[in-house]
């Protein structure tokens, strides 16, 4: 396998982008990544998108985007793994470059979620759960994570305030990110008093509905070294699956696929979790970040709530988690999220993260997951 580097980053301001269609949102991010790479060459493209079919009625997406990017006839593939579609696109791009199949690969992620009503969006996101045995009963994604939260609180004594502290921390970080959808700061009281979505989760426990895209350009490390941009290496990639049905899990308070994917990615990189200077993780709900810190081994099982309470995962803490603001504040255009995590980590490792810069960051990890953890993608990035 060849060493793979990230040489270009592209992301635009996320939000409710009423005036822009999916193709424009994607192309804007892709052009930024190509420009940032300083290399006008794309050999192949991989796009993560969860459900352009349900959100905008458009399939056959990769060819459409290759066309609007002005890159026909390059090979282009769209990959789907629910909310981890972006992370999966990154892995496929990584494999394509590492294998020698292509040299310069554009990896993008995109989702256009505001062309449908809230009920329709809730339904579309619900297709990441078991349609016949979970969604059929009226379950939603906030509902599934709420059930994980109830079980976690019951078993470990995780508190309402600890859930809120995840939102407070991530909005604090997001307030330093000019591309975040909701850069506003929140307080524990605001989260605790916000409207209930699925008990105990309130609206400020939930990541938002977002339109957005992100893109990165990958190439072999040897090629990257001859170019002017800093070459940040992808040194590990891990991918694992689990049941998409929450009721089929042996332990609903544990994210086993994340644990396994992280183990694989770190083993490939020859690193330990303590070697990482920062983490971008999939905080689709506040409880998710607590459970992810446990699955990654940043906190002991059941101690993820305590970790956020004690500031371990804060921007200046021992293990900074979600310096970008995470899905909570930055937004969560589902297919774009996994790629945007890579954009943030590479920015941090280049030392270009501005006010939210983790000082001296040399190594970072992304964790992206689909559904309630039915899929998980973990990547390790390192600066030379």
């Amino acid at each position: 396998m060849r060493d793979v580097a990230v040489i270009g980053l592209g992301m635009t301001k996320w939000g409710e982008l009423w005036a822009k269609p999916l193709r424009t949102i994607f192309v804007e991010a892709a052009l930024l990544a190509i420009e940032d790479a300083g290399l006008d060459r794309i050999d192949s493209m991989v796009v993560g998108c969860m459900s352009s079919g349900l959100f905008v009625g458009q399939e056959h997406l990769a060819s459409l985007l290759s066309d609007y990017l002005g890159r026909i006839p390059i090979p282009a593939a769209r990959v789907e793994s629910a909310c981890s579609s972006g992370g999966l696109a990154l892995r496929q791009g990584f494999i394509e470059v590492a294998s020698g199949m292509s040299d310069v690969v554009l990896v993008g992620g995109v989702e256009k979620m505001t062309d449908v009503t809230g009920c329709e969006a809730t339904f579309a996101l619900g297709t990441a759960a078991d349609q016949e045995y979970e969604s059929y009963q009226g379950l939603t994604f906030p509902g599934l994570y709420a059930m994980m939260a109830v079980a976690h609180m019951h078993r470990y004594g995780t508190t309402r305030d600890q859930l809120s502290m995840v939102a407070v921390k991530n909005h604090d970080n997001g307030s330093k990110n000019p591309l975040a959808q909701f850069p506003s700061k929140v307080t524990v009281e605001m989260v605790n008093q916000s409207v209930l979505v699925a008990d105990p989760l309130r609206i400020l426990d939930c990541s938002p509905i977002t339109d957005g895209a992100a893109a990165v350009v990958l190439c072999p490390l040897d090629m990257a070294k001859r170019m002017k941009r800093p070459a940040i290496r992808i040194t590990g990639s891990g991918h694992a699956t689990d049941t998409i049905s929450l009721s089929s899990r042996k332990d609903i308070t544990r994210l086993e696929s994340t644990h396994i994917a992280a183990g694989k990615a770190l083993a490939m990189a020859g690193r330990k979790i303590e070697d990482m200077d920062l983490f971008e993780v999939h905080d689709c709900f506040t409880i998710a970040e607590i459970m992810i810190t446990e699955a990654l081994g940043l906190a002991a099982p059941g101690q993820g709530g305590k970790a956020v309470e004690e500031g371990v995962t804060g921007l200046r803490g021992k293990h900074p988690v979600n310096p970008s603001g995470g899905l909570k504040s930055k937004g969560h255009p589902v297919g774009a999220t996994g790629v945007a995590q890579a954009v943030e980590v590479v920015k941090q490792l280049r030392g270009e993260a501005g006010e939210r810069q983790v000082k001296g960051a040399k190594r970072g990890l992304t964790q992206n997951m689909g559904g309630t953890g039915g899929s998980a993608l973990v990547h390790v990035f390192e600066a030379d």
Partner: protein, 130 residues
């Protein structure tokens, strides 16, 4: 709107709680599968789910998906039945204040939702406190 076949083929599970028991390891499979996820065996005997169990977790859905808007708020839970099978269903005939981990429940046949004014009426199981 899906054709009725999608609904019809799940009737044995949704109406009659038909499940399978793995001849290799005894795991109850609901819905039935072709391969046991625990031991990999492919031989099963038919069984019916235990009708009672206890809640492992629950929530109250206040923002409903398409098709359930008129029902919210409603409670949903995961229960472990007395035969070890786990499944997800709404918890009904139960004040939200009574919901707790460990609550004893039984399965009852209920209406789930409707495909609009002229479509199929979907039935299935719900949890009711014992």
């Amino acid at each position: 709107m899906p054709t009725p076949s999608r609904y019809w083929r799940e009737i044995p599970q949704r109406y009659r709680l038909e499940a399978e028991k793995c001849k290799g390891c005894g795991l109850i499979l609901f819905p039935p599968r072709l391969v046991c996820p625990q031991c990999g065996k492919r031989e099963f005997e038919k069984t019916k789910l235990a009708g009672t169990g206890k809640l492992l977790t629950y929530t109250v859905i206040r923002v409903a998906p398409e098709g359930f808007e008129d029902q919210s708020p409603y409670a949903v839970g995961i229960a472990e039945l007395d035969d070890g099978a786990r499944l997800t269903a709404q918890v009904v005939d139960c004040d939200f204040s009574r919901l707790k981990v460990g609550l004893r429940v039984k399965l009852e046949f209920r209406k789930i939702h409707e495909d609009g004014a002229a479509g199929v009426i979907h039935y299935g199981y719900k949890f009711v406190p014992e």
